[in-house]
């Protein structure tokens, strides 16, 4: 759904850029020749020669021209069954049903392929798949990451916002602006306001640290914000400039603290912590006046309790001072009788200080539990304006060691825009606009590369979160610029990018090997064939559920079943820890920061503590043990076996169905025979043993299904 505000915001950008241009001195920066900070070039795809003859798709022309230079020849196109399986996993993370495969294979019309793409892009499952890629990048978790790992029940709203944004094909620039400054953006109605606030969950979900309220390490949370913002939107490791100028990239220590100021001027919702076991500063989703009215008595109560706490602190420090004075006095007293007096005084004061310390701790708990009884209003884990400020450089990253003041501005190398004088707030809206300005060379390149990566397994830049001097340079720099320009001129539409990529011949190649090509380009950097890719953790689990018939396709539109907030007593000694079982898609699994989800950790799920630009695809013995013996796998195999047995009358038909469901293809005659032999052997085995398996036939089919789920053909996409 396109929002009317888009155009308003676009106008704002132009104004902001015009107002804030300044002469920028980049002479002190390191590595200014970095390719990725140069403007995105307007390039035309090669228009003549072999490349143009091969294909009319612009991607193909760039790719083919690069191949030609190296003496590479693309392999043959993939067959339709391979292709549809690839498209389904790429776009929705689920396999096609045998009927969907058959429909495509038998569809002889010219637009059969683009129809498949359109159907998949229109499926709600698309957002669940591609939203998950973004959740990887923003290190999404359902908990805060402090020492006790407080749960944040409201975070599901942000997760669903991301899924919806992909499904709605929200323009990517708007998507970024909403996440950074949604609270400051104009909105047409309450629904849009609500959506904008939920979007700022992106900033709020920065990692939290520690257990204490006093000396709360907000500077680490802000570092995490900047680190993630740099990697996710710009592909830059900005946080390397926290303690000193970046060692390789053109980012200064001043740049880092210039960005820091935007977030120091921002109030983050507070998820709770060991010494304050309740949420505060969550952003109401109902109109502010209503929220204020509803919260007034609560706020008064908290203020009163807080005043008591402050008083206790005052009394304690007074008593502490008196105690120190008395101790000093004691050393000077000569007379024994006086000494006794002073000793008595010291004892009394020590007791008083101890008593006040206890009262203080007790009062902290009173506030904690008072906060737990906050009246319910619908709110979001988001951000709002704090006290606008510029911050001092923290020398060597030490927040206690103040260096020069760093006025808020954008990265020097990207223009160094400063806030117009009329801006009196945090300036986040301007920051969001600078980030998404079409003149910014990184934002479009980075996202175009991410889209490419999820279609081809490796990006044009193989280090998707690092477009810096230590990252990998692009294999196809002109193509990347073409895609970035096209992305922007197509209204930052991600779905249009999918269509462009998937209708290329390059995307539709088979995964066949070719020894001559392999000698020249063994890692297939130049895309002469399709890469064979392992399914990621979510796709493995979702697919097993899908083919067993147990997958619950309904989204999760409510919080996870966390304990109720009035029972929150999590401490670092007894942190929040839970695993919630569900048959919904894996994007809806509850994930934590301190406690890895046991299944997702096993299959290289996203890091919940730092941006994951690209998943690993490791192969471990523990994964094999999971596939061998985990009850989940056995349950899905049992259910699939039952489906097969009930779904056809003859074993041969059943075997065909099994291959169609698990591999999206028909078996060869040899495979049918081998499989039938296998089933007979297993059945015979069970019968001979006289095992307690009620039905040897079912047991044999389950055994076959387990074997198929463990096979490479299931686990890899070609």
């Amino acid at each position: 759904m396109m929002k009317r505000t888009t155009s308003i915001v676009c106008a704002c950008i132009l104004l902001a850029i015009a107002a804030a241009s300044r002469a920028v001195d980049t002479s002190k920066l390191i590595g200014v020749d970095l390719w990725s900070v140069k403007p995105v070039q307007h390039v035309e795809p090669p228009a003549d020669g072999e490349a143009a003859k091969w294909s009319s798709n612009p991607i193909d022309r760039f790719v083919r021209a690069a191949q030609q230079q190296r003496g590479l020849t693309p392999v043959k196109p993939a067959d339709r069954r391979t292709l549809i399986r690839r498209a389904y996993f790429d776009l929705i993370g689920l396999p096609p049903t045998p009927e969907q495969v058959a429909a495509f294979v038998n569809d002889k019309r010219d637009n059969a392929w683009s129809k498949v793409i359109d159907e998949l892009l229109a499926s709600p499952a698309y957002g669940e798949r591609w939203g998950r890629h973004w959740l990887d990048v923003v290190r999404y978790a359902d908990t805060a990451g402090d020492n006790s790992d407080y749960p944040v029940p409201q975070l599901y709203k942000y997760r669903n916002y991301v899924i919806d944004a992909f499904n709605d094909d929200k323009p990517y620039d708007q998507f970024i602006r909403e996440q950074i400054a949604g609270d400051l953006m104009p909105h047409a109605d309450d629904a849009e306001r609500r959506e904008h606030i939920i979007a700022t969950g992106y900033i709020a979900l920065s990692r939290r640290f520690g257990s204490q309220v006093k000396n709360y390490p907000q500077y680490l949370t802000i570092e995490d914000t900047i680190d993630n913002l740099g990697k996710s939107v710009l592909g830059l490791s900005i946080n390397c400039a926290r303690c000193h100028d970046h060692k390789y990239d053109p980012i200064s220590n001043d740049d880092y603290y210039a960005l820091y100021g935007f977030f120091a001027s921002t109030q983050y919702a507070f998820p709770g912590i060991e010494l304050l076991r309740a949420q505060k500063d969550f952003v109401p989703l109902i109109p502010q006046e209503q929220a204020d009215a509803k919260l007034a008595p609560f706020r008064e109560k908290i203020a009163a309790e807080q005043k008591k706490l402050d008083d206790l602190l005052g009394q304690r420090s007074k008593a502490q001072k008196e105690l120190t004075a008395a101790k000093n006095a004691r050393s000077k007293v000569k007379d024994d009788a006086d000494k006794q007096d002073v000793d008595k005084q010291v004892t009394e004061l020590t007791q008083r200080v101890d008593a006040l310390r206890k009262q203080y701790k007790k009062q902290e708990r009173v506030i904690s539990s008072a906060r737990q009884n906050k009246p319910h209003i619908e709110d979001a884990y988001g951000i709002c304006e704090g006290k606008p400020m510029d911050v001092h450089i923290q020398v060597k990253g030490n927040p206690k060691d103040k260096g020069p003041l760093a006025k808020r501005h954008f990265l020097t190398i990207l223009g160094g825009q400063t806030l117009p004088t009329e801006v009196k707030d945090s300036g986040r809206l301007q920051l969001a606009q600078w980030l998404t300005a079409k003149s910014n060379p990184l934002t479009a390149r980075v996202m175009a590369n991410r889209i490419w990566q999820h279609h081809f397994g490796v990006g044009i830049v193989a280090t998707p979160n690092d477009f810096g001097n230590r990252g990998k340079p692009p294999t196809h720099p002109k193509l990347l610029d073409y895609l970035a320009k096209r992305f922007m001129s197509d209204g930052w539409s991600i779905k249009k990018m999918h269509r462009l990529v998937m209708t290329s011949k390059t995307y539709q190649l088979a995964s066949d090997n070719d020894p001559a090509n392999a000698r020249i380009d063994p890692t297939n950097d130049y895309l002469w064939r399709a890469r064979v890719r392992r399914l990621d953790a979510e796709a493995i689990r979702d697919t097993m559920l899908a083919i067993s018939g147990k997958l619950d396709r309904q989204p999760l539109n409510e919080p996870h079943p966390f304990p109720s907030p009035d029972k929150w007593n999590f401490t670092q000694h007894r942190p929040f820890k839970a695993v919630y079982e569900s048959n919904k898609r894996s994007v809806y699994l509850m994930t934590q920061r301190i406690q890895k989800h046991p299944y997702l950790a096993l299959f290289d799920g996203a890091d919940t503590n730092a941006s994951t630009g690209q998943r690993d695809a490791s192969t471990t013995t523990l994964q094999a043990l999971y596939m061998l013996n985990d009850p989940f796998v056995h349950e899905q195999a049992d259910a699939l076996a039952a489906r097969l047995i009930d779904g056809a009358k003859q074993d041969t038909q059943r075997v065909r169905q099994a291959f169609e469901m698990v591999y999206s293809r028909e078996p060869s005659e040899g495979e049918v025979k081998m499989t039938l032999d296998y089933l007979n052997q297993i059945q015979a085995r069970y019968k001979a043993v006289g095992s307690d398996q009620a039905e040897p036939r079912r047991a044999a089919w389950a055994s076959l299904c387990r074997a198929m789920l463990r096979s490479n053909e299931f686990l890899f996409v070609e």
């Binding site: 471990t620 094999a624 297993i682 053909e713």
Partner: protein, 460 residues
């Protein structure tokens, strides 16, 4: 021989052969089964690109493996291995708290320790104490992370993962890094996380009890059905691999099933103590048949060490009811009793088997505890100074490195930061801490961040 084969009236070997003859089923797994039948024959270990294959160290190693004993909550140095007569004398003055345990002289080097750990103290001739440890943070979560990963803020790979990455492992049928822990300490699974290192290097948690590793036991009740399934998988995979002969990923995945298949036998054997003598069980304070307790953890550690596991971590207690003695130091008593005899037994057992010199034992905690009281009888966290110790694996036996001041408050000499501690452990394994790097997010990362000095003084 399985019940089935007996029942069917022919030998397992015949059965296996007939499985091949009857269909295209088997090859690789069959090799394994046949090999285990004929004893002497070794399974054809496919030495294809294996990320856990043993790697040579940077320079000759003193230790081949590590047993890392971690005590959560913060063990008091002044009540254990760094006794302070002056503190005891000043008990009650300036909030100072004397120790409940009496200092004594132990071993042939005249080393002082209290009688909190009488068995370990009696082994001090084999131990190198470091009384000048310090760390960057004074809270549990952060310092637990610090001693495991070198970082007190952000999640980073664990030391066990770094060692696995640096050296690979000797036994391909067991994980390279195993963590035997009844409960998780502060920072949860982050203490054994591979983080940005490849997942092969993550710690595998062993939970004491009858089922110590998840999914280790075949779920199919009829013997050899699982082997037959794997035979079919292999037939499918071979055909599939035929289309992708150059794919190492696919080959590695096939191999992982063979390893998992063997691990189902190998790992339970490591956990089966029936071949241990009564005398050995007694050294660890174990009763026959016992499958949990710290003595069990220590004996399993020795058995895993024997089987070539590179890095074994033992954690005695979890994130609560641990060494965090704010209320009363007396709570150290039962916790010490739980680990004292087993640890001394482990040292003695490794020694009598000639394994101590190539096994580095590391004993550590999060931080020490304050010389002054917190509540009247307890102590608070103290990161400025605490004690850890090393034994075996090329360290000086019976030696004391560094010293704290007369109250145990500050370091008096030769401070050892956790980064130095890590650099030293790596050094003993033949790894240079500045060269053990992994490129991630555009830069090289190390266990020791940008710091760390090897403490050569503790090395024999």
């Amino acid at each position: 021989m399985s019940r089935f084969f007996q029942h069917a009236g022919y030998s397992r070997r015949d059965m296996l052969r007939s499985m091949v003859a009857g269909s295209a089923v088997m090859p690789g797994i069959l090799d394994l089964l046949m090999a285990s039948e004929s004893r002497g024959a070794t399974a054809a270990a496919a030495a294809s690109a294996n990320p856990l294959a043993p790697k040579p160290p940077h320079f000759p190693a003193r230790a081949k493996r590590v047993i890392f004993l971690f005590q959560p909550g913060g063990v008091s140095h002044v009540d254990s291995f760094d006794p302070k007569p002056k503190l005891n004398a000043m008990d009650g003055k300036d909030r100072l708290l004397g120790s409940l345990w009496k200092p004594r002289t132990w071993g042939s080097h005249g080393t002082q320790a209290t009688d909190l750990f009488p068995h370990i103290a009696a082994s001090l001739d084999d131990i190198c104490l470091i009384r000048s440890m310090h760390t960057d943070h004074n809270d549990h979560f952060q310092s637990t992370l610090g001693i495991h990963t070198g970082s007190v803020t952000f999640a980073r790979p664990s030391i066990g993962s770094w060692v696995s990455y640096g050296l690979g492992t000797m036994n391909q049928n067991l994980p390279s890094f195993m963590v035997i822990a009844p409960q998780l300490p502060y920072a949860g699974t982050q203490v054994y996380s591979n983080d940005f290192l490849p997942a092969y290097h993550q710690g595998t948690r062993v939970i004491p009890g009858p089922d110590p590793i998840r999914n280790l036991h075949p779920r199919t009740k009829v013997a050899d059905v699982q082997a037959m399934e794997l035979g079919l998988v292999e037939a499918f995979n071979k055909k599939h691999l035929g289309h992708h002969p150059t794919s190492t990923d696919l080959a590695a995945r096939i191999r992982s099933y063979e390893t998992a298949f063997r691990m189902q036998t190998e790992a339970p054997a490591a956990f089966d103590l029936s071949d241990e003598s009564d005398a050995t069980l007694a050294m660890y304070g174990l009763k026959r048949g016992q499958t949990e307790g710290y003595g069990w953890q220590c004996l399993i550690a020795r058995r895993l060490a024997e089987r070539g596991v590179r890095f074994i971590e033992l954690i005695d207690v979890g994130a609560h009811n641990n060494w965090d003695a704010h209320a009363n130091m007396a709570s150290h008593g039962p916790l010490a009793k739980n680990i004292d005899k087993p640890i001394a037994g482990l040292i003695a057992d490794l020694k009598q088997r000639g394994m101590l010199e190539e096994t580095l034992i590391v004993w550590t905690t999060e931080f020490g505890r304050t010389p002054h009281h917190d509540s009247p009888k307890g102590r608070s966290h103290h990161n400025r100074c605490f004690t850890s110790w090393l034994a075996g694996g090329g360290v000086k036996p019976g030696y004391v490195h560094g010293a704290s001041d007369e109250l145990g408050r500050n370091i008096a000499s030769d401070g050892v930061h956790t980064h130095d501690f890590h650099a030293t452990i790596l050094y003993l394994l033949g790894l240079h801490h500045e060269k053990l790097t992994y490129k991630h997010a555009g830069r090289d990362f190390r266990l020791t961040d940008v710091a760390g000095h090897v403490v050569h003084d503790v090395i024999a």
